[in-house]
Amino acid sequence: MHPAPSVIFFTTFSGLGFGLLFFLGLGFPVVTGWTAFAFFVIAYLMAVGGLMASTFHLGRPERAIKAFTQWRSSWLSREAWCAVGALVLMGLYGLGLVFFGTRWTAFGILGALLSMATVFTTSMIYTQLKTIPRWNMKFTPLKFMSLSLAGGALLAGQTDAALVLLVIAGLVQLYTWVEGDKALGASGTNMATATGLGNIGQVRAFEPPHTGTNYLLKEFVHVIGRKHSQKLRIIALGLMTVVPVLLLALPFSHLIGVLAILSHIAGVLTARWLFFAEAEHVVGLYYGKR
């Protein structure tokens, strides 16, 4: 899959933003006044900034509002509803904390649940696709949610929770890489089933339908980045989990906290780039590629 910067930026930062909102909504930490204001500004910049970025990959962003209509069948539509619901409820909750110094617990808890629901629905957009066996597994939602919670805990300054969640997220990430590498082979889809010619003999793509490139090859058959994928996996896991865990194990200071957050974000961006670049869409089989 083509690793579009807008989608990488969107999933990474909205994941972090909604993760932070989850912890704020549950009252970890309970903050009021200007401190609360700062926390909410960071969370909203990330969550809303990510959502805005996601509209950049649309062919017709001016019609984006229509994406709210198909919540009965479409995960993308459900994501839109959850995101708006979470942002509105958490906005009201934040209003109480910042301007009235009171904690409207119901708004906070509901907002926290909707924040996680948003991350879950985002992950389901990818998980539902049978055409991309690497994504079509139960661990994909777990990966998105564990990363969002780990990043949220880190941003919310919940060091003990962050330590545990970072390790869990790292392990889930590792597992999805190992399982993902086997997914296309295990899916049962190959050039023989794609063409239906397998019972005659070995199928080889002889000539593509066009001399130039096309939308399908650009969008679905991205092979350039896979060359360094093993090195990038080590870098991603190191920055995402190992470095922040080591930093959090040191005596806490704000500088160390900021360094842990920056390292984590860089790691998640790398892992998210790999999530797209490594994903093989079965349409590539028609071109004899993967």
Binding site: M1, H57, L58, G59, R60, P61, R63, A64, K66, A67, F68, T69, Q70, R72, S73, S74, W75, L76, S77, A80, I125, Q128, L129, K130, T131, I132, S187, G188, T189, T193, A194, T195, G196, L197, N199, I200, G201, Q202, V203, R204, A205, F206, E207, P208, P209, H210, T211, G212, T213, N214, Y215, L216, K218, E219, F220, H281, V282, V283, Y286, Y287
Partner: protein, 249 residues
């Protein structure tokens, strides 16, 4: 609505004969020609006369070489591919706006372009590469089964079929109701063992592909041939000398 109809009244679709297709790409051209100036937005090209050209097509013809086991000759098979108008179309249910839909009356999968936001998710969900996002218009384009031809009473009756079927010089493309067991296309599928592409994806495609017929065995040139004197296997004269000399080296 992007939920799929439980049942469609007809299952209009194509039957493509891989035995007959000669790979001339006439269907590709007639498809682009008709669909760029009729239903929906035109099918744009980018940098059409430059080195790095690309464009939107609703029908594309691949060519595959298939090598049977043993020493049988390899076969070259031309393979046209367009939307298969699946019964369980994954492209429809993922659509967030309801732009993608499957028609109850005839099972054709269409895109309402004025509702399409160009998110591309339907193309991600399609295993066949049947949908292409038009780079000029920013909306998803796909085969309409020439919905603006097949019911068009302004056209002579023989032209009321998809442009690709109408143009195919080899008669490799057939159009009809695959939900009706008595239709010509259904009979053809039954007779020739028509198959689904990627059945394991669970899309239940309506379009069927007729597999290439088994190749004939090469007949013996002459019934008496095995009884004839074998042609000299040992070279004589100059070639014989050359052979011996080269052996010695």
């Amino acid at each position: 609505m992007t939920t799929l109809p439980a049942k469609t009244e007809k299952k209009l679709g194509l039957v493509i004969d891989l035995d007959t297709c000669v790979g001339c790409h006439a269907c590709v051209i007639s498809c682009k020609g008709w669909n760029t100036e009729n239903y929906g937005a035109p099918l744009s090209d980018q940098n059409a006369y430059g080195a790095d050209n690309s464009g939107t097509f609703l029908n594309r013809v691949h060519s595959y070489e298939v090598q049977p086991a043993g020493d049988a000759a390899a076969q070259l098979i031309h393979f046209p591919k367009s939307c298969l108008h699946c019964e369980d179309a994954p492209c429809v249910t993922v659509c967030p706006t309801g732009a993608s839909y499957k028609r109850v009356e005839d099972g054709i999968v269409l895109v309402n372009e004025s509702n399409c936001i160009g998110c591309g998710l339907c193309a991600w969900a399609c295993p066949y590469g049947a949908r292409e996002l038009d780079q000029a218009e920013g909306v998803m384009k796909k085969c309409t089964l020439c919905v603006d031809r097949i019911y068009n009473e302004n056209l002579p009756e023989e032209d009321r079929q998809p442009a690709c079927v109408r143009t195919c010089p080899a008669g490799a493309r057939h159009f009809g109701d695959l939900g009706d067991e008595t239709s010509d296309v259904s009979k053809l599928v039954a007779e020739r063992g028509g198959m689904d592409l990627m059945p394991e994806q669970g899309t239940k495609p309506v379009n069927k592909y007729l597999p290439p017929r088994p190749k004939d065995e090469m007949p013996e040139f002459d019934v008496l041939a095995p009884f004839l004197e074998p042609v000299a296997e040992e070279p004589k004269g100059f070639l014989g000398w050359l052979d011996k000399t080269l052996e010695k080296l």
